[in-house]
């Protein structure tokens, strides 16, 4: 079985994001970029499935600018076998367009499983996996914290509002990863070197015949309302007095 793992290049999770003064977006120049943390979890899970003998090949795929090759090299260094970049200069790639691009790749590669992050930490949409499953008419196992692979089905434990839910999905399926599925490995130096020699193919939305025209327009991006730091209290008694008499919340 092949596993397809879509990955996204995003502003690093530890960078403080700043809104541009003209409200056209957020500052991305000279900002550290990394693989979206949920995508790392997806790559890790795919590598574990391969190590356990449940998969033969892992294909990492990303859509975006030339720079996404770096993210794909990281995926290769973590254990993916080959990579595909869907290269485009469209700076506003929206989830439906990405899902359509991924469908086109899935149709070509015929993976038994698509494993991907539940959400990218830039747009926070949480859509692409569900959309891909819909376009393929496949089952979806979103927010997965545990997977059990059987011959023609996969049992997925999902994080839901009140706890956990377990579903059995027909294969092939789309799985989206939650934080507790695994802890991703760091790529070792020898593997980073080896990754440079692994195949990385480049295609385009045009070659795949996919229309990626944005469906919404961003009018402005603004700063959130700022919360002012309040007062430091000296003691528990002081705190209770303030909550009772000043804030009136207890």
């Amino acid at each position: 079985m092949k596993i397809l793992v879509p990955v996204k290049r995003v502003i690093d999770a530890y960078v403080t994001v700043r809104v541009k003064a003209d409200e056209s977006g957020v500052e991305t120049s000279n900002v550290k970029m990394s693989m979206n943390p949920f995508c790392e979890i997806a790559i890790e899970e795919a590598v574990r499935l391969k190590e356990a003998g449940n998969a033969e090949e892992i294909i990492a795929v990303s859509a975006g600018s030339m720079q996404c090759q770096e993210t794909l090299r990281t995926a290769l260094a973590m254990g993916a076998d080959r990579a595909i970049l869907i290269q485009t200069e469209e700076s506003d790639l929206q989830p439906l367009a990405i899902a359509k691009l991924l469908k086109a790749i899935t149709d070509k590669e015929n993976p038994g499983l698509v494993l991907m992050g539940k959400q990218a930490i830039d747009g926070d949409h949480n859509q692409t996996g569900q959309m891909l499953a819909a376009l393929l008419n496949w089952a979806q196992g979103t927010f997965a914290s545990k997977l059990d692979l059987e011959s023609d089905s996969i049992t997925v434990t999902r994080e839901i509002d009140g706890g956990l839910e377990t579903l059995k999905l027909k294969m092939p399926a789309v799985i989206t990863t939650d934080l507790r599925l695994n802890e991703p490995r760091y790529a070792s130096l020898p593997n980073i070197m080896k990754a440079k020699k692994k195949p990385l193919d480049v295609t385009t939305p045009e070659e795949l015949g996919v229309d990626i025209t944005p469906r919404y327009k961003t009018i402005k991006v603004s700063e959130p309302p700022k919360r002012q730091a309040g007062t430091m209290v000296e003691s528990v008694q002081d705190l209770i007095e303030k909550l009772h008499n000043e804030a009136k919340v207890i």
């Binding site: 027909k170 469906r215 327009k217 402005k220 804030a247």
Partner: protein, 312 residues
């Protein structure tokens, strides 16, 4: 044309996430219909019909909707979508799971987690863990939206007198089946709607300490218990306690963060709380920069003292 709200319910009662979505829908100046898809869910349908502002309830009753599987529920929503300008659901794990599937099947780009409605096609939503807010204008029809429940007042549970129409099921897709669920049992208020939330972080050091210290305080305050990702990852509490960018978004009247340093991913889930209290031994912790009241000290001493003082 009317707008459609996808209700979240457990077949008996509506989940509290549904009422703010009905309130958001009322800003669109159209008749509001509510879909109850469930199994033996007549009680939930009746309850939905009484919510203020609802004019019609569509009730699809079928065993295939008992657990809200996205594949089957998505097919049902798509079947009725053509009659609506907007389709809305809560941005809870339920809505997040189902709505993108619906949007893709309708070939529209969903707008996720809206916090304000500016007009029938323009919405505000947080991006980058709430470090920025995007105002976006959708060109799609229908518009598929998920709504952040804490950003809208809940519609009143009484006041409506909607008709209840039984509707046909869509075909069972056969793609997924329900195996089981493990729900966290608690007598305390639900985290998403509690007036007071006390949240703990890695500072507790163990699950035993977390429970031993937090439970009496929560009981004393009538509070729900939340946690940072660090505390959940360390196994102190179950996953559904997690407050943050990818966990639960809460906005209680009082939020007390104890032993939580305040990573931006955590702040994204609680910074709309009315009053924030931070208790941390590290006076440099980022949580203090957004707290209304800060207390520097050892949580192992402060919590028992706080609990005792509240008792008197």
């Amino acid at each position: 044309m009317p707008v459609l709200v996808i209700a979240e319910h457990d077949n008996n009662t509506l989940k509290v996430s549904t009422h703010p979505v009905i309130s958001a829908a009322s800003q669109l100046d159209a008749d509001i219909h509510v879909l109850i898809a469930g199994s033996n869910a007549a009680a939930a349908a009746e309850e939905a019909g009484k919510v203020s502002g609802v004019v019609k309830v569509l009730h699809a009753d079928d065993a295939i909707y008992a657990q809200g599987l996205a594949e089957n529920l998505g097919a049902l929503i798509v079947q009725i979508a053509k009659d609506y300008t907007h389709i809305l659901a809560p941005a809870s794990f339920f809505g997040k799971n189902i709505m993108p599937r619906v949007a893709a099947l309708l070939d529209v780009q969903q707008i996720s987690d809206i916090t304000a409605i500016e007009s029938s096609d323009t919405f505000v939503r947080p991006i980058y863990a709430g470090n920025a807010f995007a105002t976006i204008q959708s060109t799609d029809s229908p518009k598929v939206l998920t709504v952040r429940p804490t950003s809208f007042d809940a519609a009143a549970a009484e006041g409506g007198s909607a008709s209840i129409d039984q509707i046909d099921s869509a075909a069972e897709t056969g793609l997924a089946s329900f195996v089981g669920q493990e729900l966290t049992k608690s007598e305390r208020p639900e985290l998403a709607i509690a007036d007071i939330v006390i949240s703990g972080g890695r500072g507790f050091g163990s699950a035993e300490n977390f429970n031993k210290l937090m439970e009496p305080l929560a009981d004393r305050l009538g509070a729900a218990i939340g946690a940072s990702r660090a505390a959940v990852d360390a196994g102190y509490v179950p996953n559904d306690y997690q407050v943050g960018q990818t966990g639960k978004i809460v906005a209680p009247k009082l939020y007390i963060a104890i032993g939580i340093s305040g990573a931006i991913q955590h702040l994204a889930g609680m910074k709309d709380s009315k009053v924030i209290v931070a208790i941390n031994k590290d006076e440099e912790a980022p949580i203090f920069s957004i707290a209304d009241y800060g207390l520097v000290g050892d949580l192992f001493e402060i919590i028992p003292e706080l609990e005792k003082a509240l008792a008197s």
